[in-house]
């Protein structure tokens, strides 16, 4: 092991986590309200889901590349990387938020309305709590995927554990590649396990 590698692993892991955390925070802030809105506006569903679907189909390396020339959100660096990661994370959260709320038992929803709940009371006291574990499942899938995809951010100067991987590929150095890949896998496993645990606790039989 070359000198200074362990401290570099720690630095880049932290950078990676920050990248993922910011991207996920933005993706959640967009997708959860958008998913709720879609349960109220059936006409918008094909458009919004279509857009999120298309974003998912673009190969990640290509998406990072496409964003570079875009003004304001594009360019080289973390900002562009975060935009790309957000675009990827939208669909699973959006779809699960919508599905979770739409699958609330109609008898429960009807009795909530019949008992005189306002729209907000219905949403916050009934729909969101009952959909919470489905929404969280979407967030978990998106987070795990984002941890992996974020390694590509290094290709456009976004930093993170991908720095090791790209450097390793360029210099044909397996140890260097592993220094990026192993911590990335561990991060993915930790986020999967942690969010899965919370998800189970939110489940209502």
């Amino acid at each position: 092991m070359r000198p200074g590698l362990s401290s570099e692993i720690i630095d880049l892991t932290i950078e990676h986590v920050i990248l993922v955390a910011i991207a996920m925070a933005i993706a959640i802030a967009i997708s959860v309200p958008a998913g709720i809105l879609l349960t109220r506006r059936a006409g918008m569903r094909p458009w919004v889901l279509g857009f999120a679907n298309v974003m998912q189909t673009i190969p990640s390396l290509a998406l990072f590349g496409f964003l570079i020339p875009v003004p304001l959100i594009g360019g080289i660096g973390k900002q562009t990387a975060i935009v790309a990661l957000v675009l990827y994370a939208l669909l699973p959260i959006l779809r699960n938020t919508m599905t979770g709320i739409l699958s609330v038992d109609p008898a429960v929803r009807e009795s909530a309305v019949a008992m005189g709940m306002t729209g907000w009371e219905l949403l916050w006291q009934v729909e969101v709590p009952l959909a919470a574990h489905t929404i969280l499942a979407g967030i978990r899938i998106a987070t795990v995927t984002t941890v992996g995809t974020a390694t590509i951010a290094a290709a456009i100067g976004g930093g993170g554990l991908g720095v090791f991987i790209f450097r390793g590929i360029a210099s044909v150095d397996t140890a260097e590649i592993l220094a990026g890949a192993v911590p990335a896998s561990i991060l993915a496993l930790i986020s999967d396990g942690g969010l899965g645990w919370i998800e189970k606790r939110l489940a209502v039989a």
Partner: protein
């Protein structure tokens, strides 16, 4: 309780407190596309009465019920609750003054029994201690031990117990009107009989205006002060049980035939 009426129950006459609001249907029709679900329905439910709407599936009885708490609004005509048309009411106020019990109970699976029963009082911002004592009192009233059940969740209860909680929840904020949509349809016959008796006891105690939807003619005869027979969205007969059994329309005979059938 200034006004008192009388209720005939299992052959006995009881003085009954009357403290509900009247409900009046005036020429109410309801259309879905070309289909006429309700056809110029007109009737009156005086305060404190239990009207049973009897009919087969698709006769429009549930639709008629949902007109009262404005889950549906008439295509033409009007439903008057306490003298005011449902489309003139503040819907939230209207619904919080009407108790609603449905077949699958619609209990909130993520709330304890206490919070389920206390829901409308909580929405109305009653102080927590008052909500709790109200929930206790109501569970007792529907025959469930509060100590044992308050902290449980709906999935930990049997179908009959959930139905009792559904009734307790509907009574929580002391509504002026109660609506029942085949509330005892999904429970076993023995439990159904118990629940019907409980309903009659409650009616004697609280005396609210009630509209009760069922397809079971025995249930209708047991609990109704009057029975309205709905057929294809029209009110065919509206009569007291003693009159209803003498009815001769084809639909009434079809329902009454079930009473005469020998068991063996």
């Amino acid at each position: 309780m200034a006004v008192r009426g009388y209720v005939v129950d299992r052959g006995l006459i009881f003085a009954m407190p009357v403290n509900g609001h009247p409900v009046i249907f005036k020429d109410v029709s309801y259309r879905i596309g070309d289909k006429l679900v309700l056809d110029r329905l007109s009737f009156e439910v005086p305060a404190g009465e239990t009207l049973v709407l009897l009919g087969r599936s698709g006769s429009g009885k549930t639709t008629a019920l949902k007109m009262v708490n404005a889950l549906l609004l008439p295509s033409s005509g009007e439903v008057l609750v306490a003298g005011k048309a449902t489309n003139q009411w503040d819907l939230i106020r209207l619904r919080r003054s009407i108790g609603y019990v449905i077949q699958d109970t619609g209990l909130f699976p993520h709330f304890t029994i206490e919070r389920n029963v206390g829901l409308v009082p909580l929405l109305e911002h009653w102080p927590p201690e008052q909500v709790r004592s109200r929930a206790r009192q109501l569970l007792q009233q529907v025959g469930l031990d509060p100590v044992e059940y308050l902290a449980r969740y709906p999935r930990q209860l049997s179908g009959g117990q959930r139905q009792r909680v559904g009734v307790a929840r509907a009574l929580a904020a002391d509504p002026a009107i109660l609506l029942f949509d085949e509330p005892f349809g999904a429970v076993d016959p023995v439990t159904r009989l118990e629940l019907q008796n409980q309903f009659l006891d409650l009616r004697r105690e609280v005396g609210k205006t009630s509209i009760f939807v069922t397809h079971d003619v025995r249930e209708a005869l047991r609990i109704g002060s009057r029975i309205g027979l709905l057929h294809s969205g029209r009110l065919e007969i509206l009569a007291a049980p003693s009159e209803f059994v003498k009815a001769r329309t084809p639909e009434a005979r079809a329902f009454l035939a079930g009473l005469e059938e020998p068991v063996l």
